[in-house]
Chain length 189, copies 2
Protein backbone atom coordinates (compact mmCIF):
# COMPACT_ATOMS: atom_id res chain seq x y z
CA UNK A 1 0.00 0.00 0.00
CA UNK A 2 1.80 3.09 -1.13
CA UNK A 3 0.26 6.21 0.41
CA UNK A 4 -2.10 7.72 -2.14
CA UNK A 5 -1.25 11.28 -3.07
CA UNK A 6 -3.64 13.90 -1.80
CA UNK A 7 -4.79 14.51 -5.35
CA UNK A 8 -5.58 10.84 -5.89
CA UNK A 9 -7.43 10.82 -2.61
CA UNK A 10 -9.59 13.73 -3.79
CA UNK A 11 -10.41 11.94 -7.04
CA UNK A 12 -11.40 8.68 -5.37
CA UNK A 13 -13.44 10.42 -2.68
CA UNK A 14 -15.22 12.47 -5.32
CA UNK A 15 -15.95 9.46 -7.50
CA UNK A 16 -17.61 7.73 -4.56
CA UNK A 17 -19.85 10.75 -3.99
CA UNK A 18 -20.55 11.28 -7.70
CA UNK A 19 -21.66 7.67 -7.87
CA UNK A 20 -24.31 8.26 -5.22
CA UNK A 21 -25.64 11.69 -6.18
CA UNK A 22 -24.18 12.71 -9.53
CA UNK A 23 -21.62 15.40 -10.34
CA UNK A 24 -23.88 18.42 -9.94
CA UNK A 25 -25.37 17.36 -6.63
CA UNK A 26 -21.94 17.02 -4.99
CA UNK A 27 -20.31 20.24 -3.78
CA UNK A 28 -16.65 20.94 -3.13
CA UNK A 29 -17.67 21.25 0.52
CA UNK A 30 -19.12 17.70 0.39
CA UNK A 31 -15.88 16.30 -1.00
CA UNK A 32 -13.77 18.17 1.54
CA UNK A 33 -15.98 17.11 4.44
CA UNK A 34 -15.70 13.46 3.40
CA UNK A 35 -11.91 13.88 3.64
CA UNK A 36 -12.05 15.74 6.95
CA UNK A 37 -10.73 19.04 5.59
CA UNK A 38 -12.19 22.35 4.37
CA UNK A 39 -13.24 23.06 0.79
CA UNK A 40 -10.61 25.74 0.25
CA UNK A 41 -7.85 23.23 1.02
CA UNK A 42 -8.80 21.20 -2.04
CA UNK A 43 -7.53 23.97 -4.31
CA UNK A 44 -3.94 23.37 -3.23
CA UNK A 45 -4.09 20.02 -5.05
CA UNK A 46 -6.45 20.58 -7.95
CA UNK A 47 -7.45 23.53 -10.10
CA UNK A 48 -11.18 23.08 -9.55
CA UNK A 49 -14.17 20.78 -9.71
CA UNK A 50 -13.84 20.40 -13.46
CA UNK A 51 -10.38 18.87 -13.12
CA UNK A 52 -11.77 16.16 -10.85
CA UNK A 53 -14.41 15.22 -13.40
CA UNK A 54 -12.13 15.23 -16.43
CA UNK A 55 -9.38 13.24 -14.69
CA UNK A 56 -11.92 10.70 -13.56
CA UNK A 57 -13.62 10.26 -16.92
CA UNK A 58 -10.68 10.56 -19.31
CA UNK A 59 -8.53 8.10 -17.35
CA UNK A 60 -11.11 5.35 -17.78
CA UNK A 61 -11.99 6.33 -21.33
CA UNK A 62 -8.32 5.89 -22.28
CA UNK A 63 -8.36 2.42 -20.76
CA UNK A 64 -11.27 1.47 -22.98
CA UNK A 65 -9.51 2.93 -26.00
CA UNK A 66 -6.33 0.98 -25.22
CA UNK A 67 -8.24 -2.26 -24.75
CA UNK A 68 -10.04 -1.76 -28.03
CA UNK A 69 -6.82 -1.02 -29.91
CA UNK A 70 -5.37 -4.32 -28.75
CA UNK A 71 -8.44 -6.23 -29.89
CA UNK A 72 -8.59 -4.50 -33.27
CA UNK A 73 -4.93 -5.26 -34.00
CA UNK A 74 -5.24 -8.89 -32.83
CA UNK A 75 -5.72 -11.90 -35.08
CA UNK A 76 -8.74 -14.15 -34.78
CA UNK A 77 -12.35 -14.49 -35.89
CA UNK A 78 -14.94 -11.81 -35.29
CA UNK A 79 -16.58 -13.90 -32.59
CA UNK A 80 -13.23 -14.22 -30.81
CA UNK A 81 -12.83 -10.46 -30.99
CA UNK A 82 -16.25 -9.91 -29.45
CA UNK A 83 -15.32 -12.34 -26.70
CA UNK A 84 -12.16 -10.31 -26.04
CA UNK A 85 -14.14 -7.08 -25.96
CA UNK A 86 -16.56 -8.52 -23.41
CA UNK A 87 -13.65 -9.75 -21.30
CA UNK A 88 -11.61 -6.55 -21.16
CA UNK A 89 -14.81 -4.59 -20.60
CA UNK A 90 -15.45 -6.72 -17.52
CA UNK A 91 -11.85 -6.24 -16.36
CA UNK A 92 -12.13 -2.46 -16.60
CA UNK A 93 -15.51 -2.52 -14.86
CA UNK A 94 -14.05 -4.42 -11.94
CA UNK A 95 -10.97 -2.18 -11.68
CA UNK A 96 -12.72 1.18 -12.12
CA UNK A 97 -16.21 0.43 -10.81
CA UNK A 98 -16.29 3.67 -8.79
CA UNK A 99 -15.52 5.85 -11.80
CA UNK A 100 -17.98 4.32 -14.26
CA UNK A 101 -21.12 6.10 -13.06
CA UNK A 102 -19.50 9.46 -13.86
CA UNK A 103 -18.40 8.17 -17.23
CA UNK A 104 -21.94 7.03 -18.04
CA UNK A 105 -23.97 9.86 -16.51
CA UNK A 106 -21.83 12.95 -16.06
CA UNK A 107 -19.71 13.14 -19.22
CA UNK A 108 -21.97 15.92 -20.55
CA UNK A 109 -20.66 18.20 -17.81
CA UNK A 110 -17.14 18.11 -19.24
CA UNK A 111 -16.03 21.38 -20.82
CA UNK A 112 -14.86 22.12 -24.36
CA UNK A 113 -11.70 20.14 -25.11
CA UNK A 114 -12.31 17.42 -22.56
CA UNK A 115 -15.86 16.94 -23.79
CA UNK A 116 -14.69 16.71 -27.39
CA UNK A 117 -11.97 14.21 -26.50
CA UNK A 118 -14.41 12.02 -24.64
CA UNK A 119 -17.06 12.06 -27.35
CA UNK A 120 -14.46 11.21 -29.97
CA UNK A 121 -13.13 8.27 -27.97
CA UNK A 122 -16.62 7.02 -27.32
CA UNK A 123 -17.64 7.28 -30.97
CA UNK A 124 -14.46 5.52 -32.10
CA UNK A 125 -15.07 2.76 -29.61
CA UNK A 126 -18.60 2.21 -30.80
CA UNK A 127 -17.53 2.30 -34.43
CA UNK A 128 -14.89 -0.39 -33.80
CA UNK A 129 -17.46 -2.73 -32.27
CA UNK A 130 -19.75 -2.03 -35.21
CA UNK A 131 -17.02 -3.01 -37.67
CA UNK A 132 -16.31 -6.26 -35.84
CA UNK A 133 -20.02 -7.17 -35.93
CA UNK A 134 -20.35 -6.38 -39.62
CA UNK A 135 -17.25 -8.41 -40.47
CA UNK A 136 -18.71 -11.26 -38.48
CA UNK A 137 -21.94 -11.11 -40.44
CA UNK A 138 -20.07 -10.99 -43.74
CA UNK A 139 -18.01 -14.04 -42.70
CA UNK A 140 -21.20 -15.90 -41.68
CA UNK A 141 -20.03 -16.15 -38.08
CA UNK A 142 -22.81 -13.90 -36.83
CA UNK A 143 -26.47 -14.08 -37.80
CA UNK A 144 -27.52 -11.47 -40.32
CA UNK A 145 -29.88 -9.58 -38.06
CA UNK A 146 -29.98 -5.82 -37.76
CA UNK A 147 -26.33 -5.06 -36.82
CA UNK A 148 -27.35 -1.96 -34.84
CA UNK A 149 -29.60 -4.00 -32.58
CA UNK A 150 -26.78 -6.45 -31.88
CA UNK A 151 -24.36 -3.58 -31.24
CA UNK A 152 -26.80 -1.84 -28.95
CA UNK A 153 -27.62 -4.96 -26.97
CA UNK A 154 -23.98 -5.82 -26.30
CA UNK A 155 -22.87 -2.28 -25.43
CA UNK A 156 -25.88 -1.54 -23.21
CA UNK A 157 -25.22 -4.65 -21.21
CA UNK A 158 -21.50 -3.97 -20.84
CA UNK A 159 -21.87 -0.27 -20.06
CA UNK A 160 -24.24 -0.79 -17.15
CA UNK A 161 -22.48 -3.83 -15.76
CA UNK A 162 -21.05 -1.78 -12.87
CA UNK A 163 -24.59 -1.34 -11.53
CA UNK A 164 -24.90 -5.08 -11.08
CA UNK A 165 -21.40 -6.09 -10.23
CA UNK A 166 -21.51 -4.29 -6.88
CA UNK A 167 -25.07 -5.24 -6.03
CA UNK A 168 -24.61 -8.98 -6.56
CA UNK A 169 -21.90 -9.33 -3.94
CA UNK A 170 -19.07 -9.03 -6.46
CA UNK A 171 -19.43 -12.15 -8.55
CA UNK A 172 -16.28 -14.07 -9.46
CA UNK A 173 -14.77 -12.39 -12.50
CA UNK A 174 -14.04 -15.54 -14.47
CA UNK A 175 -17.50 -16.96 -13.90
CA UNK A 176 -18.95 -13.63 -14.93
CA UNK A 177 -16.90 -13.55 -18.14
CA UNK A 178 -17.94 -17.07 -19.08
CA UNK A 179 -21.65 -16.48 -18.40
CA UNK A 180 -21.69 -13.09 -20.06
CA UNK A 181 -20.05 -14.35 -23.25
CA UNK A 182 -22.46 -17.25 -23.27
CA UNK A 183 -25.61 -15.15 -22.73
CA UNK A 184 -24.64 -12.43 -25.19
CA UNK A 185 -23.47 -14.77 -27.95
CA UNK A 186 -25.77 -17.77 -27.65
CA UNK A 187 -28.85 -16.13 -26.16
CA UNK A 188 -30.98 -17.78 -23.53
CA UNK A 189 -33.37 -20.24 -25.18
Amino acid sequence: MKPASRKTEIITTASRLFKEKGYNAVSMRDIAQAMGIKASSLYNHISGKQEILSTLILTVAREFTNGMEQVVSSKGTSVEKIEKIIEFHIDITVTYSEALPALNNDWMHLKEDDLQQFVNMRDDYEQNVRIVIKEGIKANEIEARHPEVILFSILSTLRTLYLWYEKRGKLDVNVLKRDMVSVLLQGIV
Copy 2:
Protein backbone atom coordinates in the same frame (compact mmCIF):
# COMPACT_ATOMS: atom_id res chain seq x y z
CA MET B 1 -54.37 18.37 -30.78
CA LYS B 2 -55.97 19.44 -27.54
CA PRO B 3 -54.12 22.39 -26.00
CA ALA B 4 -51.76 21.04 -23.33
CA SER B 5 -52.37 22.48 -19.91
CA ARG B 6 -49.73 24.83 -18.61
CA LYS B 7 -48.71 22.23 -16.06
CA THR B 8 -48.24 19.57 -18.72
CA GLU B 9 -46.24 22.05 -20.74
CA ILE B 10 -43.92 22.61 -17.79
CA ILE B 11 -43.41 18.87 -17.33
CA THR B 12 -42.59 18.22 -20.98
CA THR B 13 -40.29 21.23 -21.25
CA ALA B 14 -38.48 20.16 -18.11
CA SER B 15 -38.11 16.57 -19.26
CA ARG B 16 -36.47 17.76 -22.46
CA LEU B 17 -33.96 19.82 -20.47
CA PHE B 18 -33.39 17.08 -17.86
CA LYS B 19 -32.60 14.72 -20.72
CA GLU B 20 -29.78 16.97 -21.92
CA LYS B 21 -28.23 18.08 -18.63
CA GLY B 22 -29.75 16.12 -15.77
CA TYR B 23 -32.10 17.29 -13.01
CA ASN B 24 -29.58 19.19 -10.91
CA ALA B 25 -28.03 21.10 -13.80
CA VAL B 26 -31.39 22.50 -14.90
CA SER B 27 -32.71 25.49 -12.94
CA MET B 28 -36.25 26.77 -12.64
CA ARG B 29 -35.00 29.78 -14.61
CA ASP B 30 -33.89 27.46 -17.44
CA ILE B 31 -37.31 25.81 -17.61
CA ALA B 32 -39.12 29.16 -17.51
CA GLN B 33 -36.86 30.66 -20.16
CA ALA B 34 -37.49 27.71 -22.48
CA MET B 35 -41.21 28.49 -22.14
CA GLY B 36 -40.76 32.23 -22.60
CA ILE B 37 -41.86 33.18 -19.08
CA LYS B 38 -40.20 34.01 -15.75
CA ALA B 39 -39.29 31.42 -13.12
CA SER B 40 -41.70 32.79 -10.54
CA SER B 41 -44.61 32.20 -12.91
CA LEU B 42 -44.00 28.47 -12.78
CA TYR B 43 -45.15 28.38 -9.17
CA ASN B 44 -48.70 29.22 -10.17
CA HIS B 45 -48.94 25.78 -11.77
CA ILE B 46 -46.69 23.56 -9.70
CA SER B 47 -45.56 23.47 -6.08
CA GLY B 48 -41.85 23.32 -6.91
CA LYS B 49 -39.05 21.59 -8.77
CA GLN B 50 -39.59 18.38 -6.86
CA GLU B 51 -43.14 18.05 -8.15
CA ILE B 52 -41.88 18.17 -11.73
CA LEU B 53 -39.44 15.34 -11.07
CA SER B 54 -41.85 13.11 -9.18
CA THR B 55 -44.68 13.57 -11.68
CA LEU B 56 -42.30 12.77 -14.51
CA ILE B 57 -40.81 9.66 -12.93
CA LEU B 58 -43.82 8.17 -11.15
CA THR B 59 -46.06 8.50 -14.21
CA VAL B 60 -43.75 6.32 -16.26
CA ALA B 61 -42.95 3.96 -13.40
CA ARG B 62 -46.68 3.25 -13.04
CA GLU B 63 -46.87 2.43 -16.75
CA PHE B 64 -44.15 -0.17 -16.31
CA THR B 65 -45.92 -1.58 -13.26
CA ASN B 66 -49.21 -1.83 -15.17
CA GLY B 67 -47.54 -3.52 -18.13
CA MET B 68 -45.86 -6.02 -15.87
CA GLU B 69 -49.09 -6.82 -14.01
CA GLN B 70 -50.78 -7.72 -17.29
CA VAL B 71 -47.91 -10.00 -18.27
CA VAL B 72 -47.78 -11.72 -14.90
CA SER B 73 -51.50 -12.45 -14.93
CA SER B 74 -51.45 -13.67 -18.54
CA LYS B 75 -51.33 -17.29 -19.65
CA GLY B 76 -48.47 -18.64 -21.76
CA THR B 77 -44.98 -20.03 -21.54
CA SER B 78 -42.14 -18.18 -19.84
CA VAL B 79 -40.57 -17.39 -23.19
CA GLU B 80 -43.85 -15.86 -24.37
CA LYS B 81 -43.95 -13.76 -21.22
CA ILE B 82 -40.43 -12.49 -21.84
CA GLU B 83 -41.43 -11.62 -25.38
CA LYS B 84 -44.39 -9.64 -24.02
CA ILE B 85 -42.13 -7.84 -21.53
CA ILE B 86 -39.75 -6.85 -24.32
CA GLU B 87 -42.65 -5.63 -26.42
CA PHE B 88 -44.40 -3.46 -23.84
CA HIS B 89 -41.03 -2.12 -22.75
CA ILE B 90 -40.43 -0.95 -26.30
CA ASP B 91 -43.93 0.58 -26.46
CA ILE B 92 -43.34 2.58 -23.28
CA THR B 93 -39.91 3.65 -24.51
CA VAL B 94 -41.40 5.02 -27.70
CA THR B 95 -44.26 6.80 -25.93
CA TYR B 96 -42.25 8.28 -23.05
CA SER B 97 -38.77 8.58 -24.55
CA GLU B 98 -38.33 12.11 -23.16
CA ALA B 99 -39.04 11.04 -19.59
CA LEU B 100 -36.84 7.95 -19.46
CA PRO B 101 -33.50 9.69 -18.88
CA ALA B 102 -34.86 11.16 -15.64
CA LEU B 103 -36.24 7.78 -14.63
CA ASN B 104 -32.84 6.16 -15.20
CA ASN B 105 -30.50 8.87 -13.91
CA ASP B 106 -32.37 11.24 -11.61
CA TRP B 107 -34.60 9.00 -9.50
CA MET B 108 -32.19 9.36 -6.56
CA HIS B 109 -33.18 13.02 -6.29
CA LEU B 110 -36.75 12.13 -5.38
CA LYS B 111 -37.67 12.86 -1.77
CA GLU B 112 -38.91 10.56 0.97
CA ASP B 113 -42.27 9.07 -0.04
CA ASP B 114 -41.77 9.47 -3.78
CA LEU B 115 -38.33 7.88 -3.58
CA GLN B 116 -39.68 4.95 -1.59
CA GLN B 117 -42.55 4.44 -4.00
CA PHE B 118 -40.22 4.44 -6.97
CA VAL B 119 -37.69 2.05 -5.44
CA ASN B 120 -40.47 -0.33 -4.46
CA MET B 121 -41.95 -0.34 -7.95
CA ARG B 122 -38.53 -0.85 -9.48
CA ASP B 123 -37.67 -3.72 -7.17
CA ASP B 124 -41.02 -5.39 -7.77
CA TYR B 125 -40.55 -5.06 -11.50
CA GLU B 126 -37.12 -6.65 -11.37
CA GLN B 127 -38.35 -9.41 -9.12
CA ASN B 128 -41.18 -10.26 -11.53
CA VAL B 129 -38.74 -10.63 -14.43
CA ARG B 130 -36.52 -12.77 -12.21
CA ILE B 131 -39.43 -15.10 -11.43
CA VAL B 132 -40.34 -15.49 -15.11
CA ILE B 133 -36.73 -16.41 -15.94
CA LYS B 134 -36.48 -18.94 -13.12
CA GLU B 135 -39.77 -20.55 -14.12
CA GLY B 136 -38.48 -20.74 -17.68
CA ILE B 137 -35.33 -22.52 -16.50
CA LYS B 138 -37.35 -24.94 -14.37
CA ALA B 139 -39.59 -25.72 -17.36
CA ASN B 140 -36.53 -26.26 -19.58
CA GLU B 141 -37.55 -23.43 -21.88
CA ILE B 142 -34.55 -21.32 -20.93
CA GLU B 143 -30.97 -22.50 -20.66
CA ALA B 144 -29.80 -23.09 -17.09
CA ARG B 145 -27.20 -20.35 -17.01
CA HIS B 146 -26.77 -17.90 -14.17
CA PRO B 147 -30.30 -16.39 -13.97
CA GLU B 148 -28.95 -13.07 -12.69
CA VAL B 149 -26.77 -12.64 -15.77
CA ILE B 150 -29.75 -13.28 -18.04
CA LEU B 151 -31.89 -10.88 -16.00
CA PHE B 152 -29.22 -8.23 -16.06
CA SER B 153 -28.57 -8.53 -19.78
CA ILE B 154 -32.23 -8.20 -20.72
CA LEU B 155 -33.01 -5.32 -18.34
CA SER B 156 -29.86 -3.36 -19.20
CA THR B 157 -30.70 -3.52 -22.86
CA LEU B 158 -34.33 -2.52 -22.36
CA ARG B 159 -33.62 0.25 -19.87
CA THR B 160 -31.19 2.09 -22.11
CA LEU B 161 -33.12 1.57 -25.32
CA TYR B 162 -34.24 5.21 -25.31
CA LEU B 163 -30.63 6.25 -25.92
CA TRP B 164 -30.61 4.38 -29.21
CA TYR B 165 -34.16 4.76 -30.37
CA GLU B 166 -33.78 8.50 -30.93
CA LYS B 167 -30.26 8.32 -32.36
CA ARG B 168 -31.06 5.73 -35.03
CA GLY B 169 -33.68 7.86 -36.78
CA LYS B 170 -36.57 6.26 -34.90
CA LEU B 171 -36.56 2.68 -36.17
CA ASP B 172 -39.89 1.10 -37.04
CA VAL B 173 -41.38 -0.21 -33.81
CA ASN B 174 -42.46 -3.60 -35.14
CA VAL B 175 -39.11 -4.28 -36.77
CA LEU B 176 -37.42 -3.26 -33.53
CA LYS B 177 -39.60 -5.62 -31.48
CA ARG B 178 -38.89 -8.54 -33.79
CA ASP B 179 -35.12 -7.95 -33.89
CA MET B 180 -34.86 -7.29 -30.17
CA VAL B 181 -36.75 -10.45 -29.23
CA SER B 182 -34.59 -12.39 -31.64
CA VAL B 183 -31.25 -10.98 -30.42
CA LEU B 184 -32.10 -11.27 -26.72
CA LEU B 185 -33.58 -14.76 -26.93
CA GLN B 186 -31.52 -16.50 -29.60
CA GLY B 187 -28.26 -14.59 -29.31
CA ILE B 188 -26.17 -13.61 -32.29
CA VAL B 189 -24.07 -16.57 -33.38
